[in-house]
Symmetry: C2
Amino acid sequence: MTQSAPVELLVCTTCRRGLPVEDDAARPGALLHAALAEAALPEGVHLRPVECLSNCDNGCSIVLRGGPSRWTYVYANLNEAHDVDTIVEGTTRYHATADGLVPWRERPVHFRKNCVARIPPIGA
Amino acid sequence: MTQSAPVELLVCTTCRRGLPVEDDAARPGALLHAALAEAALPEGVHLRPVECLSNCDNGCSIVLRGGPSRWTYVYANLNEAHDVDTIVEGTTRYHATADGLVPWRERPVHFRKNCVARIPPIGA
């Protein structure tokens, strides 16, 4: 396999995860982003905060994308306290592919059950 | 405004819209794609079939994207019989923007209520 394009892990940092959040309190999405910034993501994965991924009813949400040859995936219902390891695992497997297509059985169970959408590659 | 990039309107053609579909019958997603192929989409919008956008619980689904400077949007719960005009209107407004951000009040009501996700531009 040739060298793959870098991967972006986008995290919705404005997500309230359906909770009432005081104006000056950190939001669940921001906490998820902060936790991922401390996690062991593979080299070549760029963590990026995004203001609202418009999946507010099923947050917290992330997007995985990576260059013109990979499918893009949107995953939902993630919890900043419980799901960091799942995101790291799923991102690592995604990063290891050239086309973004991780075999179904190799995807974390949460990813299998909470895929909101996938979008085809733009094409090289 | 400078000339914008072309827009892609991706339609999930394998969508069953939750219905039992006989193997040899056209699927709702394929019918939606066929209806859009006959519709008055603006010049510069490319209609493209996709096999499964992985939004199966809330189909039919479409994606709007358009070059490195526009946000990408995923819309759900579309009906091949009722929503073609809505898709044409929303696509036309999206196509008219440089960044993909149509003001909220200018979006079709169905788009406002059935946005599954939005994904930021890759950047020029």
